[in-house]
Structures are given as C-alpha cells and as structure tokens.
C-alpha cells in the first residue's frame, strides 16, 4: 500500500508529520513517499504541481495532503499559484467525489458560533462534485462583449456545465453514503435560474428512483445557505456541484466551530483518493508548533477506510482522537478554560499513545 505524502505549505508540514507518526504506529506496512506541492514546489521547481509530484500521486493508492498557499504567492500568475496544485491533482486523478463531514464533537460544542442546542450532535456529510462545473468548464477567458449590457466592452467569462453521467456518478455516491447513514439526501442546486441545475435536479430524481430506501429532497442553494445556519441538524447527506459545494461545505465546517477537527476525502472511481484537512495552510501560525493536527490525522483515518480497505485501523485512529479529547487535550484553536493546551507535536504523540 503506497501513500504519496504531500505536506505542502504553511502548517502543512507540521500537521502531516503528526499524521505520519500515527500511521506508522499502526504497523500496517505502508510505503510512504514525500514530495513537494504548492508554493514550496513552485519555489523549488517553478511549478506548484511538479511532474514528479503528479507521477508519485498517480502511482500511489492514496495521497495524504497537508495544505497549500500563502499570501506571498498572491501576486503570481494564476497558473503558478499554490492552489493550482490541488486543482491539478483533482483533475489528473479524476477525484470527482469529495466527502466533507461536518461533525460537532461533544467536547467542542462551546467553540461554535451557534448556540449549543443548534449544534450539539451535528453530524452531516457534504458530498461535493469535484471535477466538473464552472471550475473546469471551457470556454473561459477574456474577450470583447458582442452582446449583453455593454457590447464592445472588455468582459470575462466562465462556463458552468455538467453532463448527465457526471451527475449520475456523484448521485450514486451520495445515495450510497446515505444508505449507511440516516437515509436522507438533500440535493442542492439553483434550478430556478440555471440550466445546469435543472439537469442536475432531473438526474438526481432519476438516480434516486434506484434507491427507494433513501429519501431525496431538493433545496435551492440560497435556501441551503440559510438552513445550515437555522437548523443544521436537519441535514443528513447534502450533495451538490463543485461551486456551490465549495461555499456550503466551508460554511458548514465553520458552523461546527472546530474546523481544525474536520477531515476530507476526494475519491475517483477506483477508490484512489486524496485526503486533506478541511482547513487551510494558515501561514500566520506556520512554524509555531501550535496547529491542530487532528483534522489531518482524521483524514488519514478516512484514507485507511476508503482507499486502503483498513476499516479497523481507521476506527482505531478515530477512537484515539476521541480519547485525547476526553483527556482534555486541546490545541490553541479549540482551547477553552479548564482544558489542557498542547502543541502540535504533543497532540500527535497523545493520539499515538491512545491508539
């Protein structure tokens, strides 16, 4: 079982190091190879996703990813910016199914912006399509407008698009995930405005007929953004396109108040996957040894479950994380009075010990 380890920028190296320690402690004969990705790869090789890194990722069974990005790359041409690495990996590996659980841990209810009763026990799964939509749709670019409000003016444009089979495959992922949970799927779109959304909704309905045990409903994206705030616990599985999923999954993870705890998985049709924390590279706290490694450690657990077929080991990690929370250990981002503040390394070590 081969894992490509891509720590990336900012706190990426620190948090991935702890996840690697946890994986090593499991004695699973994992082959891990590390490579540069993101801003550090650009600095070393002139590209955020160097050929060698992409090759390593393609050949691996799974990619353990830290985070990429830093303000200092903001002025680079878009193609060289760190986040192009993550888009390139998604595209080249065909990672169309993104799993983003938004879970509120019992011990961390207080960290949420939301009132405890609204958020305690939250456990929703956002499934975001990840290789289609306006993210990759051609044509796109700049041109002189020939119609619209200002013909003759410079304009920029992008294309939102989804084909039927693209929607079908993510629909199956969502319904099957719901079967293992509370058997409810909420499909989010903007069918009152967008052609793409109308096809999305039509296909969701069609595929849903193959899953009579799962209840399907539909919600407009603006309403979904509201309902996540108003009554997040009403959701079970929320499935949506790449663009809306980007926004809603971030909103949902922030609702929990502990985005430092939330893992994610991005899978292709052969269950090859990329696993990364839901949070970003946090350049402001990089190198200080205070970042929370738990989202990355939990991403490693998802990796064992989805790509490496090691359910037992995955559960061991998840149980260990629960245990350290029960022990009252907290990194700075989730610290509250009466708990014990620990460093990134101490948190990693505590998880290893709790395994």
């Amino acid at each position: 079982m081969k894992i490509a380890v891509l720590p990336g920028d900012g706190i990426g190296t620190e948090i991935v190091a702890e996840a690697v320690k946890v994986l090593n402690a499991l004695d699973l004969k994992l082959e891990m190879e590390t490579a540069l990705v993101g801003g550090c790869a650009y600095e070393a090789h002139g590209h955020p996703l160097p050929e060698a890194t992409l090759k390593l990722a393609k050949e691996a069974d799974a990619v353990l990813f830290g985070a990429v990005g830093d303000w200092k790359y903001d002025k680079l041409e878009r193609q060289f910016r760190p986040e192009q690495a993550i888009l390139g990996l998604r595209k080249n590996l065909g990672l169309f199914a993104n799993f983003r659980p938004a879970i509120c841990y019992e011990q961390l209810v207080g960290a949420s912006s939301l009132k405890p009763e609204l958020i305690a026990g939250l456990d929703i799964l956002i499934i975001r399509e990840l290789t289609g939509d306006i993210y990759f749709g051609q044509p796109r670019g700049r041109r002189i407008a020939t119609d619209g409000h200002f013909p003759g003016a410079e304009e920029a444009f992008d294309t939102m698009r989804y084909s039927r089979p693209e929607i079908e495959r993510i629909a199956h992922v969502a319904f099957q995930a719901a079967q293992k949970r509370n058997k409810r799927v909420t499909s989010v779109d903007k069918n009152n405005v967008l052609e793409t959304s109308q096809l999305w909704k039509d296909v969701m309905v069609e595929v849903g007929q193959q899953y009579p045990d799962v209840e399907l409903d539909h919600m407009l994206v603006d309403n979904a953004a509201m309902q996540l705030v108003k009554a997040p616990k009403k959701f079970d599985v929320l499935v949506t396109g790449n663009m809306f999923g980007d926004i809603l999954s971030d909103e949902a993870s922030m609702l929990t108040g502990s985005i430092g705890m939330l893992p994610s998985a991005s899978l292709n049709s052969s269950n090859q996957g990329l696993y990364e924390p839901s949070h970003g590279s946090a350049p402001d706290i990089a190198g200080k040894g205070i970042a929370n490694p738990l989202a990355t450690i939990l991403s490693a657990a998802m990796m064992l479950r989805f790509s490496l077929n090691q359910e037992v080991a995955a559960q061991r990690i998840e149980a260990a994380v629960k245990k350290v929370l029960e022990q009252g250990l907290r990194t700075a981002d989730i610290y509250s009075e009466g708990t014990t503040r620990v460093s990134t390394i101490e948190m990693g070590a505590a998880v290893v010990k709790a395994l």
Copy 2:
C-alpha cells in the same frame, strides 16, 4: 410620485397591505397602483409578469413588491414560474444594484442562531450586482458534450460573465455606500478559479483608487461564507456578483435570526427601484394573518429614501418600527417570552400609530 404596488403570492398581499397603510399615513401624495405578479398573475393572465404589470412598473418611480412563489408552481416550465417575474423586472428595469442590509435589532438578538456576543449590534450592508453574471449570461441550454469527461453525453451549461463597465458601476455604488458608513468595502469573488472573478477583482482595485478614504479588501467566496458565521461584525459593506450575492445575502440575513425584519432595495442608474422584503412568500403561513409586515414596511422606507427623495419620511417609518419593537410588540416569527404577540394587521396598525 407614482408607486407600482405588486403584492404577489403567499403572504405578499398581507404584508404589502400594511406597508401601504403606513405610506398612506404619511400624507405624501403618493399615487399607488396595484397589479398582479408571480403565480397569481400566471393564473389570471398566463404569465408571471404580464405586459400590463411590466408597463406599470416601468412607468412608476418605484415598485413596492411583496413576494412571489408557491410550491404548487414548482412543476411549471421554468419560464412560467413565479420567480421569473422578479428576474424579468430586474432585467427590464435594469435594476443592477441590490442593497441588502443585515441588521440585528437590539431587542431581537435572542432570535439569532448565533451567540449574542457575535451578533449584537450587527449592521452590515450586502451589495449584490443584480443584472449580470450567470443569471443572465448567454449562451445557456442543453446540448451534446463534445469535450470534457463524457464527450457524446447530454450536458447542460450556463455562462458566467461580467463586463468591465458592469463591474465598475456596482463598484461605485459600493464605495459610495461605504463612504456613508464605516468606510470599508469587502469585495467577494473566486479569483483563484474564475476568469470572471479575476476581472471583478481587478476592476474593484481600479475603482477603489478613486475612493482613497475607503478601505478595500478582497475575500474568496468560500472564506466569506465562513467569516459571516465566525465574525459577521467584521464586515461593513460586502460587494459581490449576482450568484455569490444570492447565497451570501441569504446566509447573512438568516444569521440575524430575524429575516422577517430585513428590507431590500434594487436600483437602476436613474434611482428607479424595486423594494421588497428579504424573506419569501411563505405559502405555509399565507392567509393566517400572522406574517411579519416589518420587512416590507422598512422596504417602503428605503423606497422613500432612495427613489422618492423623502429622507425625513423614511426616518419616520424607521423610528416608528423601532418604537413598536420597544413596546414589545412581536409577530410570531420574532416572538419570545415576555413580549406581546400581535397579528400582521395589529403590527401594521401599531407602526401607523407610532409614526
């Protein structure tokens, strides 16, 4: 001064009736004419935005709008659905600038999903571009894909686009609004992925140079969705495109916990405007006499301010609304123990009395 009154569907008629009473009580010599719009217009005339209604709206100085939509129209072809009326009005009247304040009233802090300290005193203004973007961009439709992941498959597509002058004019609106407030503009886009967003950001920076007294910053839409939850009070004016604005303005208004209080204005370049509550038609409570008319009444105040040049009258309405809240009067949606529950009509009457 001529006002087109378009109550629409659901609770629309009930709440607009109260706003009209308030306007009448001001003795301003307003000429008001009512017409059908939305589902009721479709039923009566076969179209959600009948010619006569559009003509009335075009000739008026302002449109006072209730709400449109009902589940029962969900199965209609898109062009006949109620919400097409609102899109048609925006397009035909050129209402490119949408103002959506998200304000948390002191007396209603408890109604928010958010903890009181995060939301008390919230006063942000979302300015959403309303006639461009993927809402209206051509081409759009269905076709057989010739490239992408599944060439040969059926696909649907839409075009996101913004021209430089479209962005410029909304930028000016945002900077000028900020000058009257706390002098900060946050421009929200997705420039790390979208060409349209890159032009958006570039133009915001350019126009911003004409407003050296206003501080401009930029935020990615996914991050904005998070920051609204985490620290909403950090925003002053948030300006964004039509699609992102749809999502973020609804998220922001739900954060306040009292969307039944939030007005909106949509203006064109001659200050002709459409004024409507931020909430929808709520067909589930229509006809029960319990809907909150305050968002519509406050929309009427915005109408007096922006389109009819009646600042003093606008402030009278706003002061009257404050007063009824202080008196402890509450419709069901904002009721809490210790306050007095009133009906739609009672609330309207109380505002008239407080004028």
